[in-house]
């Protein structure tokens, strides 16, 4: 799929795919050379020589993780990539167990079994619409695991090989430990809040505390200052400092996420994804473990890039998302102007008739479709149209759904072939030739105000040019509701627009019947 080409941050990165593979392939030997060079002559922090085979095993695991992500460049290679990831993890775990004298193998095996069963069963049972919650919950576990490992390393530094000759924890390791537990704790508490908001246990509305910026910056400065002090202070009596860092980091995770509204959760989930990577990397530094460092860097960059893509797709700066409060004052912006504007109401029969006559139809699904569980009915409608010789395409906005790529998964679940699904940049020019734009459960992403109205809160956000299509069908439950951004949509009142007011699933089923 060519979509990824258009997402490069600027023309400066104008490598073609082939060059990119070559450049990555070029890195790997460079990596390997460097690690061997470093590993063979050097001594571990604990004074024991590093076994080059062990170091290379971790390196192989790291490379397999790179290949796992590389596989995701296309759906065909993705499953092989996932297998690489599993093999990499197996190598990392087996190598660790092999090289440490194990006092408690049955307990460890039991722990892996318990965790494995919980994880596996959850993964099998989870509904695809609940994927964002699941990912947030998983992030919180990584964060908590990082905190536990950090505390264990602090309590038993000898086992982690981070003691110097005098039996004190090395200065550099203390910085890494401090940062590791801090990032891990922020990931944990932040993800818990993100989970509660996504899962509906907590209102999606932002919770605004007075002076929150002052409090947050103060707590952050406190964590950094304490970490620095923890590094230089003598070991005796550092316990209190260490525990304060842990406590403050849990606190700041909560404080950072509660003012962020439900609409910004895709960015938050991506950001926490990034943090979970940095936490793993910090622990990798403590242990001098290449697999953890490579993985941490991969996951860290992945989350950061996804946050960037999400922010860009909403035309928001990362800072404004993190500062929070978006969507808190959406109520009063609906003016009296919208009340008595004329709009046309269509029926399922009209829609079926028009679409049967059409040559090409572009379907724009939004989160509303997922809420109504209409994806299967929608796919059935698409199939019926295809049988009539109509060309059907699906157009997906980067922020459709509640996490990056969420809508693609939902459509894939409904058996929509992935080569009929297109990204914003790839399909936007086709609306001018389209006979019908069928909007279902989306709103802000088709609002022309983003292009024309400088005063609109969504001004500048890239949107679909649905207004260029000959006919627009807009499936919506009622005229009253507005999108996340709380702005009225010009498309409702256009001459070529027909509003199909009904539940998304029911409407699709009725159209199928009428076809």
């Amino acid at each position: 799929m060519g979509a990824s080409f258009d997402r490069r941050p600027s023309a400066g990165w104008g490598l073609n795919q082939g060059c990119r593979i070559a450049s990555i392939a070029g890195w790997i030997p460079a990596f390997a050379g460097m690690t061997f060079f470093a590993a063979t002559p050097a001594l571990a922090a604990s004074g024991e020589p590093v076994n080059p085979w062990v170091a290379s095993a971790y390196l192989v695991a790291g490379v397999l993780f790179i290949l796992a992500l590389r596989g995701l460049s296309s759906p065909e290679s993705s499953r092989a990539g996932n297998r690489f990831g599993m093999v990499g993890m197996l190598i990392a775990v087996v190598t660790t167990l092999w090289t440490h004298s194990i006092a408690s193998l049955p307990e460890i095996a039991g722990a892996i079994a318990i965790g494995g069963v919980i994880g596996f069963v959850t993964a099998r049972r989870i509904a695809m619409t609940d994927m964002p919650q699941l990912v947030a919950a998983f992030h919180s576990l990584v964060g908590l695991a990082a905190v536990l490992v950090g505390i264990a390393a602090y309590l038993n530094p000898g086992a982690f090989g981070i003691l110097d000759a005098t039996g004190e924890i090395l200065t550099v390791s203390r910085v890494e430990l401090g940062l590791g537990v801090a990032i891990g704790a922020i990931t944990f508490s932040g993800s818990v809040i993100a989970f509660l908001k996504l899962n509906g246990n907590m209102s999606g509305a932002p919770i605004i505390l007075p002076l929150r910026h002052v409090i947050n910056l103060g707590v952050l400065a406190g964590i950094i200052g304490l970490t620095a002090y923890f590094a230089i202070a003598p070991t005796v009596g550092t316990g209190a400092i260490f525990w304060t860092i842990v406590g403050l980091s849990f606190l700041i995770g909560f404080l950072l996420i509660i003012p962020i509204g439900g609409a910004d959760m895709p960015v938050v989930v991506s950001m926490l994804n990034s943090y979970s990577g940095w936490a793993a990397a910090a622990m990798g530094f403590t242990l001098g473990n290449t697999a953890m460092i490579i993985t941490g860097a991969l996951v860290g960059s992945s989350g950061a890039i996804l946050s960037y893509i999400m922010c860009k797709a909403m035309n928001r700066s990362f800072i404004s998302v993190i500062a929070g409060g978006f969507g808190a004052d959406s109520g009063p912006s609906e003016g009296a102007a919208k009340i008595d504007r004329p709009w046309k109401r269509g029926s399922a029969e009209d829609a079926a008739y028009m679409m049967k006559q059409a040559e090409n139809v572009i379907i724009i699904p939004g989160y509303g479709m997922a809420v109504a569980q209409a994806q299967h009915a929608l796919r059935e409608m698409g199939d019926m149209l295809k049988e009539q010789g109509v060309s059907v395409k699906y157009a997906i906005h980067p922020v459709a759904g509640r996490m990056p790529g969420h809508m693609n998964v939902l459509l894939a679940e409904a058996n929509v072939p992935y080569d009929e699904v297109f990204e914003l940049e790839d399909i936007n020019s086709e609306f001018a030739q389209a006979d019908v734009a069928f909007i279902i459960g989306a709103n802000d992403v088709v609002n022309p105000a983003a292009k024309t109205d400088k005063g609109s809160p969504i001004y500048g956000m890239p949107v679909f040019d649905v207004d260029k299509a000959k006919t627009i069908f807009f499936v919506k439950r009622s005229m009253g509701g507005v999108g996340y951004a709380g702005v009225d949509n010009e498309v409702f009142y256009m001459d070529q627009t027909m509003m199909l007011l009904s539940d998304a699933k029911k409407m699709c089923e009725e159209i199928v019947k009428a076809l």
Partner: protein, 98 residues
């Protein structure tokens, strides 16, 4: 390993991550998050070391139990993350050519 060589690996890996992730097709961003989540549980290595160390030193016993809890949490993630990615990827199908 000394700090600078570890840091070099880290910096290089950030660049590799940057290029690899931009080449991921947007349609697979959700599986990307699930799989990165699974691989970041490589932190299980640290938890295993703590759990395996036994209790010779002061605090070793506590560290061991913390390590075991860490192993449980990381395993949930590893198995759950890979399984859910596999489940999602299995759903991506091409158009059947007739």
């Amino acid at each position: 390993m000394d700090f600078i060589s570890i840091l070099s690996i880290f910096v290089m890996a950030c660049f590799v991550g940057y290029y690899v992730v931009w080449s991921v097709t947007p349609a697979l961003h959700t599986p990307l998050m699930a799989v990165t989540n699974a691989i970041s549980s490589v932190i299980i290595v640290g938890a295993l070391i703590a759990a395996a160390a036994g209790s010779q030193a002061d605090g070793g016993q506590t560290a061991k139990w913390l390590g075991l809890v860490g192993v449980v949490l990381a395993s949930v993630n590893i198995f759950g993350g890979f399984a859910v990615t596999e489940r999602m990827l299995a759903m991506y199908k091409k158009k059947e050519r007739k």
